[in-house]
Amino acid sequence: MPGADTYTPVAKVLHWLTALAVLGLIGLGLWMVGLPIGLTKLYAFAWHKWIGLTVLTLTVLRWIWRILHPPPVLPATVTPWERALAPWVHILLLVLLLALPVSGWLMSSAGGVKVIWFGYLPMPDLVERDLHLFETLRTLHHWLAWTLMGVLVLHLGAVVRHDLLRRDGIFRRMSPFTR
């Protein structure tokens, strides 16, 4: 049984799988948009969409898990303003992790490109082909991605602040190496 001051193993697995996928998506996304058109770009976009849909699935599972298994209580060393802010940052992250793949999926549908998840599962088109809507969604997806990157910097900054500067055990709650 996990201690009351750590996340459950399931929450940790979902978190770290998502973290790996999101880092991959950011790197892939920043790289692929500048590629000349060709098979490399085609596969890069395909994998970006497949991993993005995987993040969407993981995030839905995380929401459900979080509702059923509330996060551990913050330690007493956490200041009141940090205590008030932390859940909202986490919720913002989860909202972005839903909004980004959904906006990407919408964007693909509006652009007239049906996604076939990992080449096996055809996903439904969320909207009719509409190139004006596609352009709007592309802009939205772009800014959501940069917002996520900004919030992730805050998220990682908080880890550094708590674990390296204060050593108050916050990271330990989500560490894959602690129980």
Binding site: G112, V113, I116, R129
Partner: protein, 196 residues
């Protein structure tokens, strides 16, 4: 594209023929117009293992000659401006215009011409014909559904509305780039009004 235009013509012809036959008119051929002003030609590359991508042609027009006495003698001709191809973004559109695909500089037109129109039900038709694309002519068949027929439509008004579906293999027209990954089969969907 040519196939699509031809299909559109054929469909338009069929649509026009049905109402004429149903009211037993004795007149000879009647000319109807179809085109991008009141219709669309969309296509989808349909058998990819990666994704299914779609595009459209923004400039095309056609003529339908309806033979009141004999539906099978009706004809459709469609011309499509290949340079009007529109994909998801400019990069894709430009790729499809180059020599590996539509080669629009060398082949600016795609055409379709019907050879036979057959009624398959009260509101559907089969149109057989040929499509010419990149200088290569191949047979192409369109299945057409006709709705909203108005046999007494005035000049310039809509006579019928129809939708046609057809398929071709792009490899038969020399467009084989990325075929293993993107796919060979191309599905066409044409929706247009036919007007007097």
């Amino acid at each position: 594209m040519s196939e699509t235009r031809r299909r559109v013509f054929l469909l338009g012809g069929a649509a026009a023929l049905l109402p004429c036959l149903s009211i037993g008119r004795a007149s000879a051929a009647e000319q109807l117009h179809i085109g991008a002003a009141r219709g669309s030609i969309d296509f989808a590359i349909g058998d990819s293992k990666i994704f299914r991508t779609t595009g459209s042609f923004k400039e095309w027009q056609g003529l339908v000659l309806v033979d009141d006495a004999d539906v099978a003698r009706s004809t459709v001709q469609v011309n499509v401006n290949t340079n009007s191809i529109q994909m998801m973004d400019t990069q894709q559109s430009e790729m499809l215009k180059d020599a590996d695909f539509f080669d629009v500089a060398k082949f600016p037109k795609m055409t379709y011409a019907s050879s036979k129109v057959t009624r398959t039900s009260d509101s559907t038709l089969k149109v057989e014909g040929t499509i010419t694309l990149r200088g290569i002519t191949r047979p192409m068949e369109l299945m057409v559904s006709v709705t909203d027929r108005k046999p007494d439509a005035a000049a310039g008004a809509r006579y019928a509305r129809f939708r046609a579906e057809g398929t071709l293999k792009r490899s038969e027209f020399g467009m084989v780039k990325y075929i293993d990954v993107v796919g060979d089969m191309v599905d066409f969907s044409i929706r247009t009004d036919a007007w007097r």
